[in-house]
Symmetry: D2
Subunit: 354 residues, 4 copies
């Protein structure tokens, strides 16, 4: 039984991590931290976890030394900036103790390989540039072998996960032009669990709205970095997110002009080939389209390809559960891999529909 720590248990990603670890046969959550909820049991915060062992874990203040000592693995589910500092401390403490400590960071702090680009988009100084070099981007469909050997994993962002998986076969095979538009829609859990008026029920329910339109969203450089690596040239995207009145789910509609005269059948074949060994990517048959409910509570990314013949565009639609595939369940997949467990340990749940 591996012992896991969780820094930041009060957000939705922390909550979802606690939920997934509640039934994990080989990873036990032994330590969960939060400044404001310290002293409470997890089941007091999250009554749905009552009667699971994890529910009895008492939330504590963050203590890097204790965590480094007690844990084999730490999940960081805190805001960017904070995560970077904790990763640095934990890494240093583990080194002092001469032990292996795997760190999985759910924030953006170790996703952007170029610290300058990070600083420009996130408007803070990167204080752990040495550690940044060691971080592995945790998209296991593409980087499974690197993840297995990593000590520090930058867990991908939710929008980037759905975007990169949606475009990987097209860019790898050079069938689209470098003029990509991503029209993204996310469930509200992606906006976090902070008390604020714009995400109150009555502000979101029966409503739909865009935000950060026109290339302003911070997931843009993460998407461009990964797409450029795949295409082996610099790729730019126009990334435009919207807020959905649903709990979980991202659906991206991705537009790109075709670079060659491809049929939908050709492209579908390339997608099936690219993902033939990717258990958690489901390329849908031609004519079928993804829905967020079909992946709810699961690790799947569902992808459909469509060709708009009249305007000569490839249209890819991809769907994930932003909390599961886009954050915590992907983090547990990465934990499984770097601990030497089978990828799918405790995360092969069937989607919850309806």
């Amino acid at each position: 039984m591996y012992k896991a720590g969780l820094v930041g248990v009060t957000g939705y990603t922390g909550m979802e991590l606690a939920r997934i670890l509640a039934t994990h046969p080989q990873i036990e959550l032994v330590c969960a931290t939060s400044r404001q909820e310290s002293g409470k049991k997890i089941e007091e915060l999250y009554p749905f976890l009552r009667s699971y062992a994890v529910g009895s874990v008492v939330v504590s203040d963050y203590d890097a030394e204790r965590m480094a000592k007690e844990c084999d693995l730490v999940f960081l589910a805190v805001p960017h900036g904070t995560a970077m500092a904790s990763a640095g401390e934990l890494h240093a403490k583990a080194k002092e103790l001469g032990k292996s400590l795997k760190i999985i960071d759910l924030s953006a702090d170790f996703r952007i390989k170029n610290a300058e680009i990070f600083e420009q988009w996130y408007q803070i100084k990167h204080s752990e540039t040495e550690l940044l070099k060691k971080a592995v981007y945790g998209l296991f469909d593409l980087y499974e072998e690197d993840i297995k050997k990593a000590d520090l994993i930058a867990n991908p962002g939710c929008y980037p996960t759905a975007s990169i998986l949606g475009l990987y076969p097209a860019l790898k095979n050079g069938i689209i032009q470098n003029d990509i538009i991503i029209d993204a829609k996310s469930g509200t859990s992606g906006a976090g669990r902070k008390a604020q008026v714009p995400t109150l029920f009555c502000e979101v329910h029966d409503n739909f709205r865009p935000y950060s339109i026109g290339g302003k969203h911070r997931h843009t450089p993460e998407i461009e970095q990964e797409l450029s690596l795949i295409a082996q040239k610099e790729i730019f995207v126009s990334f435009n997110p919207h807020l959905l009145p649903i709990d979980r789910g991202i659906l991206n509609t991705i537009y790109a002009p075709l670079a060659k005269d491809c049929t939908a059948e050709d492209i579908h074949g390339l997608y099936e080939e690219a993902y033939q060994n990717a258990r958690f990517v489901r390329v849908l048959p031609l004519g079928r389209l993804p829905e967020t409910r079909n992946v709810r509570g699961s690790l799947f990314c569902d992808i459909a390809v469509t060709v708009d013949k009249r305007t000569k565009k490839l249209i890819v639609t991809s769907a994930i559960d932003n909390l599961a595939r886009g954050a915590s369940m992907q983090a547990v997949a990465n934990a499984n891999l770097c601990l030497g467990l089978p990828l799918d340990t405790n995360i092969s749940h069937a989607p919850v529909c309806p």
Copy 2:
């Protein structure tokens, strides 16, 4: 008091027409038809209209002669194909009676000016090609004077209303290239009130999905026809709709490459100028974005312009209430105009938020 008839009271557009007419000071609904609900009072179908005079109107079978005799105005809220036949009959009966009868068709039957294009997309023969020539496209922001004089008004589709208003100033001023993508999202009332599994609550709630992706949706030729008229050249669009888990509301995110080096400020100025006399179009200040709730239950179309400088695109977001501005309230606006009433009679409601 003008007397109005309503052919097809059982769908959501018929329901919304009954609702709006319930309090109209100068149009009285005297006749509402439905095959399956004939004999019932409107308030039995729609208990929310109890205690209004309209609630006591008894639903009847469709009878063209009676309608032509009793009414000054008829709304057709029946499926395409059926609407065309009724319009033909009503027009003929009115001629026989030597009286004026205004017809407002909420179906697609008289929207497409070229019958061949209509037939190709709707897969039925157009039986009223003479009448088609007389029909006026009922987008009052652009065609108010024509509507005032019309006998037959083709009430615009919901998606086209939000799309055309969103693009009109840009195309009129020639600032975008002919490579337009419309990523459209609609509330579920747009899918109609027919008993069918895909629009059951548990199939739509907490879900989001695309449909008719890749240029397959029938609103495509309507949008292209009107945009081409504005641009005075043939315009093609990639129109891609999605289904939102909300009752009312359409939000379009529209992408087009800039044709010239325009700033957001320039474009915002052109939009404000184009709509300076359009009471029911609200061009939002730069930095603000539309939300479906801000137009719920109203005739407004809210529009924002954004420039993605990195990828040199104009991004227009436009929002309407699909049932109100996209169908029945727009139909009443058209009715007001062609009866010689002020445009806003009984339809200047403030949006219902939350």
Copy 3:
């Protein structure tokens, strides 16, 4: 044109008041206050009010003197305790100025006639006991004549409105025993617009939960006071509220043992008789039940009576829109009455369905 002030524009009741007054033909909102939003235009807070004159009103700090001078009428949409202090100040200033100033308080401060009972349930001292004696309970269906003459109106609570109207004919006619259970369900706008985790979208959506079960809710003494006045004896209720994942709407299911052998038909007759002159109460035909959507955005209270013959109980179901009938639209009805306007001025809207 009467001039109105609004103390507390940032909550949902303030927002709804601004919305209703936006189109009122005889009351103009000239002054709206908020500490945190002072200096902004109303349309910046509430973009759905853009293009209405009310949208251009600049929010200001609360200033009793200015308000008393400029206004004929003030709505208090601030928390209990605060409202009491403002009412006292405004009343005193108006007296100094020798002018009439109508005050409509949407808080609980002047609803409970007995200050001791108020203090016991609300845990604060009542500082305006003299003013309390002059306050009229603003349930216009029962107290229209008193309201017309009042200077200070205690606008009823949302749950009490639906409860009292649901029970009035039964208690007045002595057909039920004094053992009443009210199982109440409210939309989330009733919980206010404060930034807090329990009313975030992801905490409320696709969820349902009871709260304040077992006679702990502060609306209990208000309901009991009014029911006791109607029954002319002391009435106790077990009032138990629940939170619904909807924006607007309250539905109460009220249980009471029958005191006599009455049929449903008998009771229905008594209800129809009791409300024959109440334009905004709709007693449904036997066999029909209310739904929150049937009253959405309107002043109606829909009521159905059912008899459970097997267990000899009267079951009343009553529905209102908590923001409209349960707060701001009822406040405008009271404003109309005390200014000498027809009750229904600008508030006879048809419900917004769907």
Copy 4:
């Protein structure tokens, strides 16, 4: 690996059974039937099950002989009346074949032990009265030992499960009077997957309504039968259901006058004692209340006890997932037990929240 059949795969209970069996380590779904969908793969109906073996099962017409031959266990997820006939046939075929065949009926056909009462409430003749005598009521918290030995299990109704578990300790200990009111609220999946207007998204969303008020709902005799067995005297209830705009979840608020002077602490103690060995009943600490989301997708029944001291009533609130605990997951629990597997095999999922 046990082989299971499923009669009726197209409803929500069939869908949920397929979902749960998709990952079951010891029960394999080998045969699923539906008249209208025969010939399609399960993954065509339910794309969320794509990539699971169960997704490839081809839906077939119902064939009792084949099913009896191939299966160790059959789930009946068809309407009442139909289920009874299938159970009779399957039982007879198995007897002919000399093999054991476990039948788990999710309909109401074998729940009411007295055929006359069944016929009176369901308005059809009971054709399998001999088989009815052998049926065991599948509420495993109370009847685990009987279920282990049963060949035919009547899977409890959704409302009855939450009602009986909520009242069991109170009735067993004689602390309440025989005057019970159950105010029940259910998610819309409980209304089935049939195409019909009243459960369309736009009829349910942002709405709340009662139905079958006043002792008319068919779950009444089932609840009364089981409560009478527990209390060992005839119990009557006033059962009143309401429809919630959520997918999954039932919350019952149950009222009963106290028979003795009990404190909340006393009663809480009795509840904890009664359920000390019931793994899937969670008696909440005093002061906590259940929420439907806390049990979503799980087998838990969460129960809280509250005493309204002012009116001397016990108020029990109980929550389940109507599709999981109230139907298909409870059916799999019963399947596990009657096949000799541990109760919780594959159904100890943590609730999915949010």
